[in-house]
Amino acid sequence: MKTKSILSALLAGALTLTMTACSSSGSSTGTTTTKSADTQATDTGATTATGDESTATSEDSLTPSGSSDALEVLIWDTNQQPGIQEILDEFTEKTGIKTDLQVKSWDSYWTLLEAAAQAGGLPDVMWMHSNVSQMYMKNGLLLKLDDYIADSTEIDLSNYMSEITDLYTYDGATYGIPKDYDTIALWYNKTMFDAAGLSYPDATWTWDDLYENAKKLTKSDGSQYGFTLSPSNNQAGYYNVIYSMGGKVLSDDKKTSAYDDPTTIEAMELVGKIVADTCPDVTTMSETGDDVLFESGTVAMTTQGSWMVPAFKSNEYVAENCDVAVLPYAASTKTRASICNGLGWTASATSERPDDCWTLLEWLGSKDMQLKQAELGVTMSAYLNTSDAWAQNTDLFNLQAYLDVTTEQTGDATNELILRPYTYKTTVWEDAANQAFVSAWTDTSQMESVCKSVAQEMNTAISQENS
């Protein structure tokens, strides 16, 4: 009896353990909110959005829904899916090579990709992000493109924004064709501004103006807030405040955290002030994403990346009541800083059809298709001088606001584009920072001490990277 019960206990426990080693399959779940995936098209924050319709996507494995002779293409943004599909359809028409486009949510995308990489089964063609691109390139998981580029008449890397090209270059070799780039701008609710008798945000606004106006737009009964900024909204949120004030998140050599830098702390104190006086409770922001709070008419302003335009365009309320303006600048430095990032189209090093993969990459990077991506309003394209086409993709909003920050100067302030801070394993310290800032958001008087502890945590994480 005794041995029997011990044995059963052992076996019962064994069932738990099994979860570790069976990689991807055990971990994935059946459904996800598309909304949350959209929110983080290029931002890596937490899953936030709710209250929107959800689409069920199969998360368990890469199961080609089309024919087996199709190239597998994997992306993470449902907002971009229709446009990308159109570009892929044209590709199939031209070349006869079939493609099978699949969309995963941001979180499961990376879980899936890592498991697939470990098992040697990466999709043929996929999006890559600066957060982890170094790791994928260093481990030889992506198809090296140099020879193809040398022979190509379509692709000349000097035609793309060099910052984006650099993200997908490792040890002098190119692994990705720049897909797009993104900047940040300030969205505002015209109806709420009108009701309060305030003038709309413009190029003269500083972060202090944003604070003052947001405070006026915040109603004491909690029915309306001036601004929203969740602790996980770094790229489209507080990073911009930090860099415009002259602070940093990461040292220039990418070896240490700069959250303990006095200027950075000063910027985060301002962020804390904005959060405390003009934003919904952190509990609310954690349940409902910044974008959804804005779309539902709960908040008057939010800073959002250019990748959100397709979502806002298709939202009736936003289309009717809202518009977008250039980001505020920092009075102390007379600088306006927008975080900028860009995705790359990459192919698997172990694909059975590298040549077909390249044909597709070449197609996606070609001037015509980059222009088409911009015209369709999918995203701004990485191909130089295609952005005007993007700005005209809708007349609902003043999309020029996203392009203004790419010029030298707007109004009184100098503009700066800052590449989204990244290291070898960005996700690890970024997630830790997002979680740590929750307590600073809850009690903003702790901002300084939280910044300092985040810096420590981040330094430990960076020192453990295998780069």
Binding site: T3, K4, S5, I6, L7, S8, A9, L11, A12, G13, A14, L15, T16, L17, T18, M19, T20, A21, C22, S24, S27, T29, G30, T31, T33, S36, G45, A46, T47, T48, T50, G51, T111, E114, A115, Q118, M135, K138, N139, G222, P231, V282, T283, T284, M285, S286, E287, T288, T298, K425, T427, V428, D431, N434, Q435, F437, V438, S439, T442, N466
Partner: protein, 308 residues
């Protein structure tokens, strides 16, 4: 559960001097459990050993270039307050979820064991949550709980932060667990109830035991083996809660540190941060806890479980 029993019992069959018939029985026995054994070894036992092996390494990117670091992961584990908090969260969740779920399921099973109109319909309704995918269930509850737009706050005219207030979020999560497991437990109890011969109740009725007395003196003791089975399996699955946390709690949720479970933490380390070594170490801790609790239950069962 079946295969575990088979494995456990099979050890007792080896006696010297087997007859031909016994040998043949033995062979066929093994042959019949072979497919299950094979699955168990390939899908459970081998990965388990691998997980254990991984705990002594700092795993490299994509599982390449693992570095042997001895017991460092375990030392880190002992000092990691996040892990112990997660373990406490998990235990708290289980302690609330299991008894409540069993109590409700038991009452429902007894009520639905009588002859009544629409009995099958009720049984089907209560069993329904079991059929829905856990992730879909979590998604729907997430919307119900939303403090801004959720149905719950709308119905009750409250402004309760069901899933982001650290003090109540774990209870909200437990409610989902209770809701999803009632149906399954109820069906098991119904099966148990139908095994109880009517004679006992008739005899009891003659001696004046009806209603509550019959329930506590006849039903409960005779159902105790089934209750024990449900208890053991519920505790184990309670300690492995993952779906609801993963689907409902965002990473910037202030309640996350007070609600995240061990398996969720393990997932974060192993699959989000790519630190499989430490992730495996966390799950070894869970293994130890589950074994301990299960062994304890096995021992304690003698005090309250009646086998005829």
């Amino acid at each position: 559960m079946m295969n575990k029993k088979n494995v456990a019992i099979s050890g007792n069959h080896r006696r010297p001097g087997l007859t031909y018939w016994e040998k043949s029985q033995n062979l066929w026995g093994w042959l019949f459990i072979f497919p299950t054994m094979l699955g168990l070894v390939i899908l459970n036992i081998w990965p388990m050993l691998q997980s254990f092996y991984q705990t002594f390494f700092r795993t490299g990117d994509f599982g390449r270039g693992n570095i042997y670091i001895g017991g460092q992961n375990y030392i880190q584990l002992l000092k990691d307050s996040e892990v112990w908090q997660a373990l406490w969260n998990t235990l708290k969740l289980t302690l609330l979820q299991v008894p409540v779920s069993i109590a409700i399921a038991l009452v429902l099973a007894v009520l639905l064991n009588r002859k009544m109109r629409g009995r099958a319909v009720y049984r089907a309704i209560f069993f329904l949550p079991m059929i829905a995918a856990p992730a879909a269930v979590a998604m729907v509850w997430k919307w119900l709980y939303n403090s801004q737009f959720g149905l719950l706050n709308h119905l009750f005219h409250t402004k309760i932060e069901w899933i982001s207030n650290p003090a109540i979020a774990w209870i909200s999560i437990a409610v989902i667990g209770i809701w999803s497991s009632i149906g399954y437990n109820m069906v098991l109890f119904l099966a148990g109830l139908q095994d109880i011969p009517k004679d006992y109740y008739e005899a009891g009725a003659i001696d004046g035991a009806t209603g509550p007395a019959a329930f506590f003196r006849i039903t409960l003791p005779l159902l105790s083996p089934m209750i024990f089975f449900v208890l053991v399996t519920s505790v184990i699955s309670g300690l492995q809660v993952f779906d609801s946390i993963y689907m409902i709690m965002s990473k910037s949720n202030p309640a996350l540190p007070k609600t995240q479970t061990i398996v969720y933490l393990f997932y974060q380390y192993s699959f989000v941060n790519g630190n499989k070594g430490y992730g495996s170490t966390i799950v070894i801790l869970l293994l130890a806890v589950i074994m301990l609790i299960t062994a304890l239950q096995m021992k304690l069962q003698k005090k309250w479980v009646f086998y005829n």
